[in-house]
Amino acid sequence: MSQLLGILYKSRHFFLFLALQIICFYLMSKNNVYWDVSFFNTTNSVVARSLEVSQKTNEFVNLGKVNDQLARENSRLRKQLTDMQEMTSGIPGYKPDSLMAQRFDYTVAKVVGSTHNLTDNFITIDKGTDDGVRAGMGVISPQGVVGQVAYANKKYSRIYSVLHSRQMVSAEVLNAKLRENSTVALGIAKWDGTNPHYVRLNTVDRFKPVAKGDSVVTSLQNPIFPPHVMIGKISEVSNTTSEAFHNISVRLSTDFSSLIYVYVVKNKLIESQQEAETNSGIK
């Protein structure tokens, strides 16, 4: 008997090994739902919380990639939105051609350099002719109008910001009264070179009812920007009776100091429009 006990004692390591392995296999067997569900899985609160921390770090590291994805998705949605808006113009009797409705295309670009407090401000983006960017195309941001492409090489482009002394945007004021009278208050938005948050809108007819707080958007009559992209909100209207135009100050919706992504707008029909306007031979 003592010999037997002696053998058992000698091989105690082996028995412990066996016991532990049996526990492990017991845990592993799929029939054993209780342990699996209650203790050994990542919903266990301590484990879950620590995994959450690790996941958050991952998310933080991947933020750049996520931003890219979202910007690309936005440009796709924006394209669909303009297509839809153009198809349903709401004007009775007018049916837009589908080619006309789908003339705008968007390219996502990242801002690599910009100024906003000089007299002539430019923005540099990381997309060039390789991605279909050409001089003259419009540029918008998620917040509103940004400017127009001045020059494009293979990889980069330079953009006239709206905050440039020679940059002008064909604008339109939107409000309920104008819609009721079915008139359009057109004007040209232009920066006066002082405050980077405001532009002037000085060519709106004095008899058009505009007020403080009305939205100013890009007009239907421009080939560069899609219609009704936000420019800003009217912050001040002053008119002396002797003048023909309102004196309007517009607070820009785009914050030029914090631009990260912009969309380059490509109008596929711009050449045929320009051709019709210039080469028709009618003087």
Binding site: H13, F17, Q21, C24, F25, L27, F39, F40, T42, S50
Partner: protein
Amino acid sequence: MNTQTILKIAASIIIYTLLQVFILRNLVFFDVAFCFVYISVILFLPSTTPTSTALLIAFVTGILVDMFYNTAGLHASAAVMIAFIRGFILKVLFPSRGLENEIVISVEGMGVERFIRYIVILTFIHHTYLFFLEAGTFNFFLNTSLKILASVMFSSIVIFLLHVYLKSLRNS
């Protein structure tokens, strides 16, 4: 076994488990090379540790890793396996030494070549056991073998470098 050794072992369990769970869990090369660095806890136990103690330490470490991998018992089983086999491997690698002149498991104590051989052999046993147990069958033999080979290389290198690095930290 004195308090200092116990503290050292506890620290190594914490360090290697955290490394495994938070960093190396997300590090898989080409979908085949995994890294299971937590076996360092068992590999670098002092050679005088009784097998029973080593088995229990291996079980605890394995269960901790299992909790994060959602695999109840799998890693624990593999860890217990190498804790049991470790004694034999040490005997085979160092037949001349007995309990009187104990083996120090480190680069200086064993020599680089034998130290690496020791790591690779135990890592290989661990990974073979683990991957075949995980696969559950021998049906994906080639795929599993590829995983084992790639993972053994990856894990061994990481285990060796980490050991040398932590050693130099302690000495400095």
